[in-house]
């Protein structure tokens, strides 16, 4: 019966008692107390015994722990590490993976696995009844100038007019896009993110209705989005209408966009899929070769949440698993400490049992001590987790999905408390195994020791293998030849005044003057501009090889398109393999293109690429290949979302390839790349000064060595892997210390046996070999178990290894060697100490 029900029954009973007493004519106040006093007394009696015992146990446990501060500190810190790491990781998993996306009815939001052109989107939007479909696109960098303020680059997203309706959000201020905003010539409207509005505009509500300049063109601010809205990227600062102009060159080619759809009321996913399967490609578009054979239906429909979290889900789960294993190791370590402590107190316990203390009473006391330790460890762990979460949020890259939503909430604290309680329960029970009073009086470790050694070694070997594999994959990642030489190269992003870039020739002249000025600086070997640095944004160019056209209606060839100035390959250290580089004459002469080695091999297999021609979609004339250069890695990672596009084509900024944002102007913002001679480093200040002299209207930012830009690009994957590696590194530490502790303690417990054997004439070497061999056997067994588990588990690590072999024998051998060395040392050193003790003293000891 629950306490509450018992209490209510008792209340009723006492009420009837009072009525009966009153009926008997007893004055209620004489001996019977007031109802409150009676109630108080009952409460006291019921709770008293329990509290009394618990209080005595806790006082006893506190006294015991205070008597051995070293033990207490070690145990609490170990537990705090395990619980803190697990709770911190869980708070990430909880906020990022478990909580629903912060939009109304998020389970109705779906996205396709494929991206679509504007034309395909319009077709799908008009022919899909099951879903309300919106398109969004993260735009190339744009340049925003406030009415009376300075200009700055902003992260912008272009979205279809129904985007807000599909996502289910309303602007916090102002209104959303009007239905006609996507028509050509319309849509000079912009929505601001809450963060941008608060920081750049000081949360000025009067900004709605004002005008701002975006890349030099006037836009009306129509609203501010709510604070929690961060889509498509956590970094998005402004939203503009997505232009859908069938007359535009990029309507059917080039720009590809992800789509997001909301299931209409009462429609199931299966119905939506069936509807898509029934869609047919319109004849007219097929004949015109405008809609490829896959672009007329939504494929691979999946929840938006899955798509958003695709990159981080596996890493977060893995990191959580690693931290859980770490907690296991911490628990084993503390259990072992407690075991050693129990053995030290075996005599005390034996005496107490002999004096009549019940077995249950002693167990309860032990449990209390374990729970108290666990509670201290849990409290410290939750505090540690709070710190770790703050650290992670500061440290992880800003575009890590849903990072802003991560916090230490009730669920995380509950997990911490639960873990602490579980650990405490385990600690309390564990040392009781194997040991009646007699064994305890005799001292020694009891059973369970070998098991602890094996569990310890197996768990930590598993984690350390994982750490070794990820660390080696990181090293390999950093050492991978990117295809360019970053040493001695300084880069910067140039934002010219948009007014200075109309007409386009003026912009070109500005860059020409700028490059001339920079090339004249002392020590500069080469200087050039480029649309985007490697590992930065990428533009996909679609084109046809004149000699080998694709079948009608099929997808055109794709390649990474980069716009450069003459001298770019020299400045970047990209080797020229065939033909020639761009030169000044190409700036005015006919259209030229340089292709990468991979592109040449794929487009003209077995042929000479130089001299061939390609037809870029949307361009009037074909481009002639003048040279082939080495391949450059497009992404910091061996795989990208654009798998299968590894080829690059380069064009001059005087003749940029289509499509570019507004297709009749060249790209405005370019990156400057300057290579200096060794010993003549160009400083950031020097570069800024030179740009300031040559192009006073332009602003410069992101001035940094190319090496720094490269490592910034690697930062995302690195931090993700580090999440995992930190847990594994801690496992190495805790595991090694723990293994040493368990083994050394076991051997120390046998010092009497060693003494007897020595006294009986055993040779020292024999005894040492026997003792060390026993420890090694246990460690070896545990190690084999751990390595086998790691071998099975390594497959799930795949995504973190970036192509590194998850069965790399070197890593496994190194881990096995490491643990065996720790085990050997941990058995040998105490055994040697024991064997040096005078046998007579060892015998007398007990």
């Amino acid at each position: 019966m629950s306490f509450r029900r018992r209490w209510r029954a008792l209340e009723e009973e006492m009420e009837s008692h009072r009525r009966l007493a009153a009926a008997d004519g007893f004055p209620p106040g004489s001996r019977d107390r007031s109802p409150e006093a009676t109630r108080e007394r009952v409460r006291e009696q019921w709770a008293w015994r329990w509290w009394e015992d618990a209080g005595r146990d806790v006082r006893f446990a506190v006294r015991g722990l205070r008597r051995s501060p070293g033990f207490t500190l070690t145990a609490v810190v170990t537990l705090a590490l395990g619980i803190g790491a697990t709770a911190a990781m869980f708070s990430m998993v909880n906020a990022i993976l478990l909580r629903p996306l912060p939009y109304p009815r998020p389970q109705e939001l779906f996205t396709a696995s494929q991206w679509y052109t504007a034309g395909s989107y319009v077709f799908l939007r008009d022919h899909t009844r099951a879903l309300d479909l919106a398109a969004y696109s993260e735009e190339p960098e744009r340049y925003l100038r406030l009415p009376d303020g300075e200009a700055r680059p902003v992260e912008s997203a272009a979205v279809s007019a129904n985007f807000l309706r599909v996502m289910g959000v309303e602007p916090a201020l102002g209104r959303g896009f009007a239905a006609g905003a996507q028509r050509p010539g319309q849509g000079r409207e912009v929505l601001l993110s809450h963060a941008f509005w608060s920081t750049a505009l000081n949360a000025d509500a009067g900004v709605v209705g004002k005008e701002i300049l975006l890349d030099g063109a006037p836009y009306a601010v129509i609203g501010v989005m709510p604070a929690g809205f961060r889509f498509p990227s956590p970094k998005t600062e402004i939203w503009v209408p997505l232009p859908l102009d069938p007359a535009s060159a990029s309507y059917w080619v080039g720009q590809m966009m992800p789509l997001v759809g909301r299931l209409r009321p009462g429609v199931t996913l299966a119905q939506a899929k069936a509807e898509q399967a029934a869609l047919r490609r319109p004849e007219a578009e097929a004949a015109a070769g405008r809609m490829s054979s896959t672009a007329f239906r939504l494929t691979g429909l999946r929840p938006l949440r899955t798509a958003v979290l695709l990159d981080v889900a596996s890493i977060l789960w893995l990191a959580l698993a690693a931290n859980g294993l770490l907690l296991g190791i911490a628990c084993v370590n503390v259990a072992n400490l407690l075991r050693a402590r129990a053995a030290n107190r075996a005599r005390e316990m034996g005496v107490r049992r002999a004096l009549g203390a019940g077995r249950g009473r002693l167990l309860r006391q032990r449990m209390t001590e374990g729970l108290l330790l666990a509670a201290l460890g849990g409290a410290a762990g939750v505090a540690l987790a709070a710190g770790a979460v703050a650290l992670l949020k500061a440290w992880l890259p800003g575009d890590f999905p849903r990072l802003a939503e991560v916090r230490l909430d009730g669920r995380v604290v509950a997990l911490g408390v639960g873990l602490a309680l579980a650990c405490g329960g385990i600690f309390g029970c564990l040392p009781m195994r194997g040991g009646g009073p007699r064994q305890r009086m005799a001292g020694g470790g009891g059973r369970g020791g070998p098991l602890l050694v094996m569990v310890e070694v197996a768990l930590s070997a598993m984690l350390v293998v994982a750490a070794g594999l990820t660390a080696r994959s990181l090293i390999r990642l950093a050492a991978f030849d990117p295809g360019f030489r970053s040493a001695g190269v300084l880069t910067a992003r140039v934002h010219p005044n948009p007014a200075a870039c109309r007409p386009a020739t003026r912009c070109r002249q500005m860059y020409h003057a700028l490059l001339q000025r920079v090339q004249a600086l002392p020590g500069v070997e080469a200087a050039a501009v480029v649309s985007d640095l490697p590992y930065g944004r990428t533009q996909i160019a679609t084109f046809e090889v004149t000699e080998h056209p694709s079948p009608a209606g099929e997808r055109h060839r794709l390649a990474f398109g980069t716009i450069v100035s003459p001298g770019y390959f020299a400045a970047m250290g990209i080797p020229l393999e065939r033909g020639r580089e761009f030169d000044a004459a190409d700036m005015t002469a006919g259209a030229a293109v340089v292709v990468s080695r991979a592109a040449a091999a794929q487009l003209w297999p077995g042929e000479e690429a130089v001299g061939q021609t390609i037809q870029v979609d949307g361009e009037r004339t074909a481009r002639r290949v003048i040279g082939v250069v080495g391949d450059v890695r497009r992404s910091a990672l061996p795989y990208t979302a654009l798998r299968g596009v590894s080829e690059g084509i380069y064009t001059l900024y005087a003749q940029p390839m289509l499509p570019c944002a507004p297709c009749d102007t060249p790209p405005v913002n370019l990156s400057l790349v300057v290579r200096s001679a060794p010993g003549h480093p160009l400083t950031a200040a020097g570069l800024r000064r030179a740009v300031g002299e040559a192009a006073p209207a332009a602003t410069v930012d992101q001035v940094m060595p190319l090496a720094a830009a490269v490592s910034a690009a690697l930062r995302g994957p690195r931090t993700a892997v580090w999440l995992f590696a930190v847990a594994a590194g801690l496992a190495l530490l805790l595991g090694a210390v723990g293994l040493y502790g368990v083994l050394a303690y076991q051997v120390a417990g046998r010092s009497r046996e060693i003494g007897i054997r020595m006294a009986l004439g055993a040779r020292r070497a024999t005894v040492l070999a026997a003792i060390t061999g026993q420890g090694m056997r246990l460690a070896l067994l545990g190690c084999l178990l751990g390595l086998a588990a790691a071998l099975l588990g390594a497959q799930v690590l795949g995504s973190l290894l970036y192509g590194f072999n998850p069965r790399d024998p070197l890593t496994y051998a190194a881990v096995a060697g490491l643990w065996l060395a720790v085990a050997a040392l941990a058995s040998f050193l105490p055994a040697r100490r024991a064997s040096r003790v005078d046998p007579v003293r060892a015998l007398r000891c007990e």
């Binding site: 008792l10 009723e12 006492m14 009966l20 001996r31 019977d32």
Partner: protein, 116 residues
């Protein structure tokens, strides 16, 4: 005026309750009244002790309890002694008698011979 009440020795309340119930089922108030009258007003049972004791005995299955209608048409909880309670009472009664005799023996002035 009744004599001053004496405080109950610890552990005796259960015994008194069980003994009272040996005479037939009774509700809590009735038990309190019976103990008071049979002890000549020496023991005045505090309801704050009585009801927890009754619940404890019920949990130990020494008594059984049921809500019933009293003669005055009141809802009361009536307790009756179980078979286990009867056995327990007899055991405790013997212990108590031995203890009372022993205590009395110890406390008896030395001039008189100790009782066997």
């Amino acid at each position: 005026m009744a004599p001053d009440p004496i405080p109950l020795l610890p552990g005796t309340l259960d015994l008194l309750v069980l003994e009272t119930l040996r005479w037939g089922p009774q509700h809590g108030y009735g038990i309190a009244v019976a103990i008071r009258s049979r002890s000549g007003d020496a023991f005045q049972v505090d309801p704050g002790s009585l009801y927890p004791a009754l619940h404890r005995l019920e949990r130990q299955q020494l008594v059984a309890a049921r809500w019933e209608q009293s003669e005055q048409k009141q809802r009361v909880r009536v307790y009756r002694l179980s078979a286990a309670g009867r056995r327990h009472l007899e055991g405790e009664r013997k212990k108590w008698q031995r203890m009372a005799a022993a205590v009395a023996g110890v406390l008896t002035p030395p001039a008189r011979e100790p009782q066997p």
